[in-house]
């Protein structure tokens, strides 16, 4: 059974946020609007965290950390869900059943990465974007929690295609499978099977440059970052 994972090279990332935009369009993520965003209700399945700039010109330093869901091997969110609305798939993805979620937000407070979003409002899409919704991804109603799925719909479609053609998935077709990876102009993002020792993500995750966020919590994130030479 594969374990899907992602590697993000922070030294390549320019902080352009194309990943965040592609993710929003691909996954029908609601537009909170400027007023709601101001009070902390913006939704970004893929958010680019930035650190404050420090140092003096011309020796300024800042860092961008693109942050999708970590799809932890030991997800704290899945443990606390009272109804099983968030669960782990066989291939290790942390998925959501929007029909089951009761909106208690236990998962949102349990996730140490703050990757989970609650729909405070009914989904809204400024005209004409409501006509450009992705039919492969359900639009979430008000009152439920949602988060990055690693583009599970693209993944399942690719698996079906491979099965029809009677072959296994090739690493090359996986690397840029999620929408965020596909658009990354710096080619800083990689996707693939962490169980396959030959895959791009496995090789990169074994690199001495690799680390994960909040590793000390024992969540075993399946998103790895690369930094430093």
């Amino acid at each position: 059974m594969p374990k899907w994972g992602m590697v993000i090279d922070l030294d390549k990332c320019t902080g352009c946020q194309a990943c965040s935009m592609a993710c929003r369009v691909e996954n029908n993520v609601s537009f909170a609007g400027p007023e709601q965003a101001e009070i902390g209700r913006a939704m970004f399945w893929q958010e680019v965290l930035d650190t404050e700039m420090h140092g003096h010109y011309p020796f300024l330093e800042t860092q961008f950390v693109p942050r999708p869901c970590m799809h932890c091997e030991h997800p704290p969110c899945v443990k606390v869900c009272p109804v099983g609305a968030t669960f782990q798939t066989e291939d290790g993805l942390v998925a959501m059943d929007y029909e089951l979620c009761i909106g208690c937000r236990m998962c949102t407070i349990a996730c140490p990465y703050a990757v989970r979003y609650f729909n405070w409002l009914a989904p809204r899409f400024p005209t004409p974007l409501e006509q450009a919704l992705n039919p492969d991804v359900p639009v979430r109603p008000r009152g439920v929690v949602e988060k990055c799925t690693f583009c599970i719909h693209r993944l399942r479609a690719a698996q079906d295609r491979a099965e029809k053609e009677g072959r296994t998935l090739r690493d090359a077709e996986m690397v840029n499978l999620p929408a965020c990876n596909q658009v990354c102009p710096a080619a800083a993002r990689y996707f693939g099977d962490l169980e396959d020792p030959e895959s791009t993500v496995s090789r990169l995750a074994r690199s001495p440059r690799a680390f994960a966020l909040l590793e000390e919590l024992g969540t075993e994130p399946k998103v790895h970052y690369l930094t430093g030479e």
Partner: protein
């Protein structure tokens, strides 16, 4: 017990004063406004609250913890003190238990008000997962509510029968209510023996439950790995806080009942003095937990823990934090050691102050942690200001609690009659022999 004392205790049940009528009307109005505002929240979703990301929980959850805590007074006074044989509790027991019975529904209700999809609430029963601390809450709080009602009702039974037999002039429907609710109680010695046996057994069960319930309430927070929450002290600290605020509420209730129903000879200064001593102990235990929790955090100096720590001590939440400390510790202790010795008025003030302080304490536990999540960037730094909607609904919950309590005292004797009757004592004495 003298006949005239019984008449005194039953007298509020036969007439309604004008002031009481106005008070009830006022409470009903607040509750109705709250219900209407909840309708508004239902129509517009939780966006009408001040909650956001990452402060996913606000004063609804604070109210949940507070009301469940307030409820602990009753069980503590009636069950735990029953077990240790403290007879001075007898006249206060029912007044305290009534706080439990009427407070728990608002605690449980606050969770429901906070749900994003109340319409899917039944998923908890159909798809419930016991790995989730929320399920532990659902089980323990509902068990607590049901057993408190049973315990309360059983100890009320002989007095309902007394109302049925003595209060002949009350309106027909009221008499009918006593007749149905008394379940054909006959005042037979054997019935008292059995009742006493059941209550003694239930007291053991309730005492265990009271400890479990508030610990489990704390575990909704404590089981996550968030800074400020993930500590084993949270459970016992919640429990002590619960008994603390509950006992404060008992003092206030005692004084109000004493004044309104002229119970000066039943609830004496001696009872207030027992409560004063109990509260001094609780104030000090509260301080002990406070020091133990924050000194451990401070000495360890873990980066993420300290962000939450400074949020409370000097940051955004410094004012509520220090006000909380003053109201939970400094002011009440000063009152208990000086003026409170002789003055019921000062004791009431202390009881109210403790409860304001304890509400703030719950707020300080829930909110600051959420404003400083581990994975910190400017985008995830949080702020939270409750909106008027949350304010009105909170006010309505408190009004609802007062309303149920007031109505109860209008129709049922709030001071137990049978437990203090000499006849019954004689039966029970016989039983012991």
């Amino acid at each position: 017990m003298a006949q005239d004392e019984e008449t005194l205790l039953l007298s509020p049940l036969t007439r309604t004063s004008r002031g009481f009528g106005i008070f009830i009307a006022l409470l009903v109005a607040v509750v109705l406004v709250g219900a209407a505002i909840y309708g508004y929240q239902w129509a517009n979703g939780l966006s009408v609250t001040g909650m956001n990301r990452p402060v996913y929980m606000g004063i609804y959850i604070v109210n949940f913890v507070f009301f469940i805590g307030l409820a602990h007074s009753g069980t503590f006074i009636s069950a735990i003190l029953r077990l240790v044989g403290a007879d001075w509790r007898k006249p206060l027991a029912r007044a305290a238990e009534a706080i439990t019975v009427f407070s728990v529904p608002f605690g449980a209700g606050s969770i429901l008000i906070d749900l994003g999809r109340l319409d899917r609430m039944f998923n908890i029963f159909v798809h419930g997962r016991f790995e989730s601390p929320l399920l532990w809450d659902v089980v323990s709080v509902s068990l607590y509510l049901l057993s408190s009602i049973a315990f309360f009702y059983l100890s009320l039974l002989p007095d309902i029968a007394r109302c049925r037999d003595r209060l002949i002039d009350v309106p027909r429907w009221q008499h009918q209510m006593y007749r149905v609710l008394s379940l054909g109680w006959k005042d037979h010695p054997e019935q008292y023996r059995r009742l006493e046996k059941v209550l003694a057994a239930m007291a053991v069960f309730m005492s265990m439950l009271v400890i479990i319930v508030h610990t489990v309430v704390s575990w909704v927070f404590g089981m996550t790995v968030q800074p400020g929450w993930h500590t084993a002290i949270l459970g016992p600290f919640f429990l002590v806080g619960a008994v603390f605020s509950g006992s404060g509420a008992v003092v206030v209730t005692m004084a109000v009942l004493r004044r309104i129903f002229h119970l000066e000879d039943v609830l004496t200064l001696k009872h207030f003095d027992y409560m004063r001593k109990l509260l001094i102990a609780l104030t000090l235990v509260w301080l002990y937990f406070m020091v133990a929790e924050y000194l451990t955090t401070f000495y360890g100096q873990e980066v993420e823990e300290m962000l939450v720590f400074w949020q409370k001590f000097t940051g955004t939440y410094a004012i509520p934090f220090w006000v909380m400390f003053t109201l939970c510790f400094a002011v009440p202790l000063a009152i208990f050691l000086t003026r409170g010795k002789r003055s019921i008025g000062w004791m009431v003030a202390a009881g109210l102050i403790i409860n304001v302080g304890m509400w703030l304490e719950r707020y300080i536990v829930v909110v600051p942690t959420l404003t400083r999540p581990r994975l910190l960037s400017e985008l995830t730094m949080g702020n939270y200001t409750p909106t008027w909607v949350e304010g009105v609904i909170t006010a309505a919950c408190f009004a609802g609690l007062l309303l149920l309590y007031a109505l109860f005292t209008r129709f049922f004797p709030i001071i137990p009659i049978w437990e203090r009757s000499e006849e019954v004592e004689a039966y029970l004495h016989e039983m012991e022999e």
